[in-house]
């Protein structure tokens, strides 16, 4: 039997000024199950709360209605007050008679009063049917998973680890370092990329709290904030890293060379390899697509069709530690984590989509990243800038901005943000390499918004003497040894042709292939370009709509190095904040399934935005839905979708809402 107490607040004159409080109190007294109704100048004040507590005790109240300001304002306050009086804090209902009554109907005292009375009526109708609710506590596994071993992931991993928590850093390639490792220098400071990156890579490798898993991918993610269960697929390296010392004999002797991914096809690498000299871990993997012995085994498996390929196995013969493990297969590792940081970064836009620029057919039309490799002392040319076609030293170099950016026709409307600056960098560095080089830079707009960026751009103009020409080239073609660029000098309003020895396309950023599939596994959203979507672009930039999963760096959108590092640290801070608690309190306003009513249509699973509903088979072999209350956020979508009305939402049950409607006519 419910015993309801109604407390009407004057809120100074904010409420009482607009309505006849006494009439509201009188009306409230007559409402069903209402034992007592009283008014108070400031219910939220300590004396006000005291009087509520007193009334609860005096009248043995087990339900409370407070008619005052919006529940969005003081619901927490009054819940505490009610709890202090020994009641379950969820046995409280608030009638919003300030924001939604007195303040908007001040012009009509009678109507305001009538409305206030009905609002109280609604609240009473609902509170009567409140059940006590109990927040649940879920433990937090204080281990973090960082996906992506680029500069962002490295930063996040180090920060979390330094805060004293275990971290697993996952990388799909054989080494960490990401795109930054491929860069020669960084703008606008021109400091050597490797010099600032590789120490951090080593720190990761040596950190007691960090476990590095390279050459591996996410297979499946289950669970919820504080309690993720992740299946990781470790690709087969065919090399036993527990034995391997990384002495390098194998990759020096391996006879089968193929184009190096790290050098973007400008150089070759053996089939047992580390991507670059400072790779971490500095232990090789075998490229099963090219390795001769693997090919041989395949030939045997195919029934020895055609010519017998060489058996090779040189690496195995010369390996001093016997680390070559031909029988090594991919294996699945299952780990538990409390939080996940996604830092999968970007890949360079593939300029082969630009048929008008040769569609990748011209060897002397290269991407900015390829130029980085050509300029790099440890690159395929030992830092000598030469034309891929004939090894000549280019004297005239043309740069084309916005390739794969700001181009709707190529399905890439966004600005990649870094190209303007790295092009300026290239112009400056080419001049440093060879004072006789003349750079032409074709741009639409030069975007130099950032610390010291404008100065850097001016440096390209003044010191490097780069000629900036406003205009997007329409065609690049070969004429003898020269590459001809057709462009309009837009500011002169004249079409011009520039004959260059080398053309560098400032290709933009796009998310890593597969970013969308990863996002689906993690149940976070991504945009049309497959950039991941943050919880709020301004106020929650590293959070996602799934608790416990954070995003950072260029997988969210084009970012330069400082931004990526900052985001890595930001995500780390969020993770550490999460780990500062031993348990998470979950809101008890969640869905609940009546197993007897459930017909197992599982529509609820389809509509649930949080994958919070799963199904199981009952003892009598019926499939029924079950709600994971730790994942459920209490939106009630499932309730609306449930045909047999088997699902209901605690605190907002269908019966309660129907009674609220009812009360308006009873």
């Amino acid at each position: 039997m419910a015993r309801v107490g109604v407390f009407i607040c004057h809120c100074g004159t904010n409420i009482s000024g607009a309505m006849d409080i006494t009439r509201v109190v009188e009306a409230a007294r007559k409402m069903p199950m209402v034992v007592t109704a009283s008014d108070n100048k400031y219910t939220c004040s300590e004396p006000g709360q005291a009087s509520v507590r007193q009334a609860i005790a005096d009248n043995k109240l087990n339900r409370v209605v407070i008619a005052a300001c919006s529940p969005r304002m003081h619901e927490p306050t009054f819940r505490k007050a009610v709890a202090a009086a020994g009641l379950n804090p969820y046995l409280l209902e608030i009638a919003n008679i300030r924001e939604q009554c007195s303040w908007v109907h001040a012009h009509d005292r009678k109507k305001a009063t009538d409305k206030a009375i009905e609002l109280v009526k609604i609240a009473v109708a609902k509170v009567i049917r409140h059940e006590p609710l109990y927040p649940r506590e879920v433990p937090v596994t204080k281990r973090a998973l960082v996906i992506g071993g680029g500069i962002t992931g490295i930063q996040a991993a180090l920060d979390i680890a330094n805060a004293g928590h275990e971290v697993v850093l996952l990388e799909q390639e054989p080494t960490i370092g990401g795109r930054m490792a491929q860069l020669d220098k960084t703008f606008p400071t021109l400091d050597c990329s490797a010099c600032i990156l590789t120490p951090k890579m080593v720190d990761v490798a040596n950190h007691p709290n960090i476990r590095l898993i390279t050459y591996a991918e996410i297979k499946e993610v289950r669970g919820f904030v504080g309690n993720f269960k992740v299946e990781i697929m470790q690709k087969a390296r065919k090399v036993d890293h527990t034995k391997c010392t990384g002495c390098g004999t194998c990759w020096q002797k391996c006879p089968e060379k193929s184009p190096s991914e790290f050098d973007l096809g400008l150089g070759n690498r053996p089939s047992i390899y580390i991507p670059f000299a400072q790779a971490v871990p500095a232990k090789p993997v075998i490229d099963t697509d090219h390795c001769r012995y693997i090919k041989y085994l395949q030939w045997v498996a195919d029934g020895e069709q055609g010519k017998k390929p060489p058996e090779c196995r040189i690496c195995e013969k010369i390996c001093p530690t016997g680390s070559i493990a031909w029988d090594q297969e991919p294996q699945t590792i299952t780990e538990e984590f409390g939080a996940v940081v996604v830092a999968t970064g970007f890949q360079v836009y593939d300029h082969r989509h630009y048929e008008e620029y040769g569609g990748g057919a011209y060897p002397d039309v290269i991407s900015g990243m390829q130029l980085e490799r050509l300029m790099n002392a440890s690159g395929p040319t030992g830092g000598e800038i030469i034309r891929p076609s004939d090894g000549a030293h280019p004297k005239t170099v043309a740069f084309v901005c916005c390739v794969g950016s700001r181009d709707q026709a190529k399905g890439r409307t966004y600005c990649s943000k870094v190209c303007c600056m790295y092009t300026a960098k290239h112009a400056i560095m080419l001049k440093e390499h060879d004072p006789h080089v003349q750079c032409y830079i074709f741009y639409i707009d030069v975007r130099a918004g950032g610390k010291d960026f404008e100065e850097f751009y001016l440096r390209a103009l003044d010191d490097a003497g780069a000629i900036y020409i406003k205009g997007r080239p329409s065609k690049i073609y070969q004429d003898g040894k020269k590459m001809i660029v057709l462009v309009e000098h837009a500011l002169m309003g004249r079409p011009i042709e520039v004959a260059a020895d080398l053309v560098v396309l400032a290709t933009g950023m796009e998310p890593r292939t597969g970013a969308d599939r990863l996002a689906q596994k993690l149940n976070i959203s991504y945009n049309t370009y497959h950039f991941l979507v943050e919880a709020h672009p301004k106020l929650r930039p590293v959070e996602t709509q799934t608790d416990g999963i954070f995003v950072a760096g260029a997988c969210v959108g084009p970012r330069d190095i400082p931004e990526s590092v900052a985001q890595g640290s930001a995500a780390a801070a969020k993770v550490v904040g999460l780990f500062s608690r031993d348990a998470l309190v979950t809101d008890p306003v969640t869905s609940v399934v009546n197993r007897d009513r459930c017909i197992g249509c599982l529509l609820c699973i389809a509509v649930c935005p949080y994958k919070a509903i799963d199904c199981e088979t009952t003892r009598d072999k019926r499939v029924v839905a079950v709600v994971n209350e730790s994942l459920c956020k209490g939106c009630g979508l499932c309730v609306g979708a449930c045909r047999p009305k088997a699902v209901d939402l605690r605190g907002f049950t269908s019966q309660q809402i129907l009674e609220e409607v009812n009360s308006l006519w009873s």
Partner: protein, 198 residues
């Protein structure tokens, strides 16, 4: 207010512009003036307004410049501009629209010979049903005053029997009827809704 003679007063919404935008079904303001159209245009080098500047003129409502320009008549309709525009604007369509929009006007000096050619070309098949190259060539040369235009190849053409001395007839084709009915329908449309041409 006194303003220098040279000052352009942008009038973004002109009848001219709305005609063009209606023709291509796109908004001219999409253009961010990168000049890729001009860069790829095989004849931009000889235009008084390059394709990009034609669009700019439309954006700014500089109608005189456009009306007196011969750019749209020099345009080859090779569609390279439209094919490569990063904003997917149909620039060739804009040129066509400008031709249609100005086809009725008195041709400016720079437009004369192009307009003449098109009139003669249409005439050349209006009667026989099929284009009559020799007749067209001769008529054009005489009327345009370029008497020696292409004479170099005419003998070769004749020797190879590549120039019919008389128009070739598409028997029984009702070409004249089509022309008449097209004109009739156009007149009807104009009466109904004042055409949006400036």
């Amino acid at each position: 207010m006194i303003s220098a003679v040279s000052v352009i007063k942008p009038q973004p919404d002109t009848k001219f512009r709305s005609f063009v935008e209606a023709h291509i079904g796109q908004s001219i303001s999409q253009c961010y003036q990168c000049g890729k159209c001009t860069a790829g245009c095989p004849v931009a080098y000889t235009m008084d307004l390059t394709p990009r500047r034609v669009i700019r003129a439309l954006q700014l409502g500089m109608e005189n410049e456009l009306e007196n320009s011969s750019s749209m008549w020099i345009c080859l309709s090779c569609l390279t501009c439209s094919a490569r525009c990063p904003r997917e604007i149909d620039i060739a369509g804009v040129m066509e629209a400008l031709r249609l929009a100005t086809a009725g006007n008195k041709p400016s000096p720079s437009q004369k010979k192009f307009r003449l050619f098109h009139e003669l070309f249409i005439m050349s098949f209006q009667f026989s049903g099929r284009a009559y190259e020799l007749g067209l060539g001769v008529a054009y040369n005489v009327l345009s005053g370029h008497l020696l235009n292409m004479v170099s190849i005419i003998p070769g053409m004749l020797r190879r029997g590549k120039l019919a001395c008389l128009p070739h007839r598409g028997q029984g084709s009702d070409i004249q009827g089509i022309f008449n009915r097209v004109d009739a329908l156009k007149r009807k449309n104009n009466e109904q809704t004042q055409s949006s041409k400036p």
